[in-house]
C-alpha cells in the first residue's frame, strides 16, 4: 500500500519535474528567438519585401473569413442583447451600447485572433515544421543565412501589421451587422442604436482594440514560428507542431485577453 503510494508520488514528482523542465526549455527557446529577431531587425532590405508578401497572406486573404465571423458575432450580440434586455422595458439605446462595448473591447479583437490562430497560426506552424523536417531550414543555414531573418521575422512583423488592421475591419463589420439586425428585428431606430453606441464610446476603446490586435498578432505568429522551427521528426512532427501552435496560441490569446482587460479599467 505504502509502496504504491510512494511510487505514485514519485511518478507525479517526475511528471511535474518534466513539465517544469519543458516549460523552462520553451521559455529559453522563446527568449532566444526574440533575441534573434531583434538582432535581425537591422537587415531591412531582406525582411521588408518578405514582410509585405506575408502581410498579403496573413492579412488581405484573411479579410473575408474575419469579416464573416465578426459580422455573425455582432449580429448574435445584437439579437441576444435585444432578447436579454427585453426591448420595450429598457431604453431603446441599450442594444447599441451593448453591441459597441462587446464588439470593440472583446469580440472584434478576440474573435479575429481566434480565427487567425486557426487560419494563420496553424499554417505558419506546419509550413515551418515542414521546412525543418525536409531540411529546407538547414538549406537556408548552409548558405550562411539566418532562418530567423528569412522565415520568422517577416511573419512576426506581418502579424503585427496585419492583425490590428483586421481587428479594425472586424470591429466595423461587427458593429454594422449588430446595427442592421437590431433595426430589422427590434423596435428601435438607427438613431437609438447610435445614441447607445455614443454613450459607451470613448477614444481609448478604439486604441484598446488596436493594442489587443497588435499583441495578439505578435503572439500568434511568434508562437507559430517558435513551434514550427523547433519541430522534430517527420510527418508526425509536423502534425504535433501544428497542434501545438494552435493550442499554445489559443491559450496565450485567452490569457492575454484576461490580462489586458485590466488595462481598460486603468485608462477608462
Amino acid at each position: 500500500m505504502f509502496g504504491v503510494a510512494a511510487r505514485s508520488a514519485l511518478s507525479l514528482d517526475l511528471g511535474l519535474g518534466r513539465y517544469v523542465l519543458t516549460l523552462i526549455r520553451n521559455a529559453a527557446a522563446a527568449g532566444s528567438l526574440a533575441r534573434s529577431c531583434i538582432k535581425a531587425l537591422r537587415y531591412r532590405r531582406v525582411y521588408l519585401p518578405l514582410t509585405f508578401t506575408q502581410v498579403w497572406d496573413i492579412g488581405v486573404s484573411s479579410i473575408p473569413l474575419v469579416l464573416l465571423v465578426a459580422m455573425i458575432s455582432g449580429a448574435v450580440t445584437s439579437e441576444q442583447s435585444g432578447y436579454q434586455y427585453n426591448v420595450g422595458t429598457m431604453p431603446a439605446s441599450i442594444t447599441g451600447m451593448v453591441v459597441t462595448a462587446s464588439v470593440l473591447t472583446e469580440l472584434g479583437p478576440v474573435v479575429t485572433a481566434l480565427v487567425l490562430v486557426g487560419r494563420v497560426g496553424a499554417r505558419i506552424g506546419s509550413e515551418l515544421a515542414t521546412m525543418v523536417v525536409s531540411e529546407q531550414v538547414y538549406a537556408v543555414r548552409s548558405t550562411g543565412r539566418d532562418p530567423v531573418l528569412y522565415l520568422a521575422l517577416p511573419r512576426i512583423l506581418a502579424g503585427a501589421l496585419a492583425v490590428p488592421a483586421l481587428v479594425m475591419i472586424a470591429d466595423a463589420g461587427g458593429m454594422l451587422a449588430g446595427l442592421g439586425l437590431a433595426v430589422a428585428r427590434q423596435p428601435i431606430t438607427v438613431a437609438d442604436f447610435l445614441e447607445g453606441a455614443r454613450s459607451y464610446f470613448y477614444p481609448f476603446v478604439l486604441w484598446f482594440s488596436l493594442i489587443k490586435g497588435l499583441l495578439f498578432g505578435v503572439c500568434i505568429t511568434f508562437t507559430a514560428c517558435l513551434v514550427g522551427l523547433r519541430a522534430e521528426g517527420g510527418a508526425a512532427g509536423v502534425g504535433r507542431a501544428t497542434t501545438s501552435s494552435v493550442v499554445a496560441s489559443t491559450v496565450i490569446v485567452m490569457v492575454g485577453d484576461l490580462v489586458l482587460v485590466r488595462l481598460l479599467g486603468v485608462f477608462k
Binding site: 531582406v46 519585401p49 518578405l50 525536409s134 531540411e135 538547414y138 538549406a139 548552409s142 548558405t143
Partner: protein, 248 residues
C-alpha cells in the same frame, strides 16, 4: 585548400554517434565516406557544414576553424562551401531558377540582374538542366532533376567545397550515373573539393579518390579508392559477393 576534421565527437543524449573522428579531404580531391545506415555519416557532414556543433573537436576549412574563427571568416568559408541534401531540400515556394539564385544572392530580387540570370542559366546548363525547368517548382520536377537543381544551388556561387549527403538516394541507375558524372566533372573541371557521404558503393567506386569507412562512431579504414574492393567490412563484403565493384 582542404577540409580537416580533428577529433570530432558528437553525442545525442547519452549516445555518442561520433567518437574522436579524424579525417582530411585534400584540396581538389573527392573523399567518399561510407558506412552502414545510422553510422553517423550525415551527422559528420552537417558538422562539417557548420549546421551541428560537436561536443569536442574542430573542423577547419581552408585553415579556418568553423566553430572558433570570427563570424566574418566563418561566413566567408560558408560562401565557399555548398551542401547537397539527401532529399534535395529545395524551397517549395521558389522555382528551380529561384532556388539556384538563392545560392547566389538572397534570392529576393524580383527581377534578377542580367549577370545573375546568365549565371543561373550557365549553372543550369552545367548540371544538364533544360532551360524549360527554370520556371518549374520543385513539386513539378522529377527526383533526378531536383537533385541536379540542388547541386546547381550548391555550386552556383563558385563554391570550392561541395558536401554531398547521399546524392544518389532514391534515384534510378541512369540518374545516379548522371549525378556521379557531375561530381567527377566538378572536381576535374572546376577543381571542387568534395566530401561525399553515401552507402552506394557503385557511386563510391566512380567518384572517389579516397574512401573512408565510418562505423561504430569511428573511422575504421581510409584507403585510396583503388583499394575499395579490399576493405574488410561486412558492408563491402556483402556488395562484393553480389558483383565486383567498378572503380573508375
Amino acid at each position: 585548400m582542404s577540409i580537416q576534421i580533428d577529433h570530432v565527437t558528437k553525442r545525442f543524449g547519452s549516445q555518442a554517434v561520433l567518437r574522436s573522428v579524424n579525417l582530411t579531404v585534400p584540396g581538389e580531391r573527392t573523399l567518399v565516406l561510407l558506412g552502414p545506415s545510422g553510422a553517423g555519416k550525415s551527422v559528420l557532414l552537417k558538422i562539417v557544414a557548420g549546421l551541428l556543433e560537436p561536443e569536442e573537436g574542430d573542423v577547419q576549412v581552408d585553415g579556418v576553424s568553423i566553430f572558433d574563427a570570427p563570424e566574418r571568416a566563418v561566413a566567408a568559408v560558408r560562401r565557399r562551401t555548398g551542401l547537397v541534401f539527401q532529399y534535395s531540400a529545395l524551397f517549395d515556394s521558389l522555382t528551380a531558377a529561384e532556388n539556384i539564385q538563392f545560392g547566389l544572392d538572397d534570392g529576393l530580387a524580383r527581377a534578377p540582374s542580367p549577370e545573375l540570370r546568365a549565371r543561373v542559366e550557365e549553372t543550369m546548363s552545367w548540371v544538364n538542366l533544360e532551360p524549360e525547368a527554370a520556371t518549374k517548382y520543385p513539386a513539378e520536377l522529377s527526383g533526378g532533376m531536383q537533385k541536379r537543381v540542388a547541386i546547381a544551388r550548391a555550386i552556383a556561387g563558385g563554391q570550392r567545397y561541395v558536401l554531398y549527403d547521399e546524392p544518389t538516394a532514391g534515384l534510378d541507375p541512369v540518374n545516379a550515373e548522371a549525378v556521379a558524372q557531375l561530381i567527377r566533372r566538378l572536381q576535374r573541371e572546376l577543381g571542387v573539393t568534395s566530401l561525399v557521404v553515401t552507402h552506394d558503393l557503385d557511386l563510391a567506386g566512380r567518384v572517389a579518390d579516397t574512401v573512408a569507412l565510418l562505423d561504430g562512431g569511428r573511422i575504421q579504414v581510409e584507403v585510396p579508392a583503388c583499394y575499395l574492393d579490399s576493405i574488410d567490412h561486412p558492408l563491402i563484403q556483402v556488395r562484393r559477393r553480389a558483383r565486383p565493384l567498378h572503380v573508375a
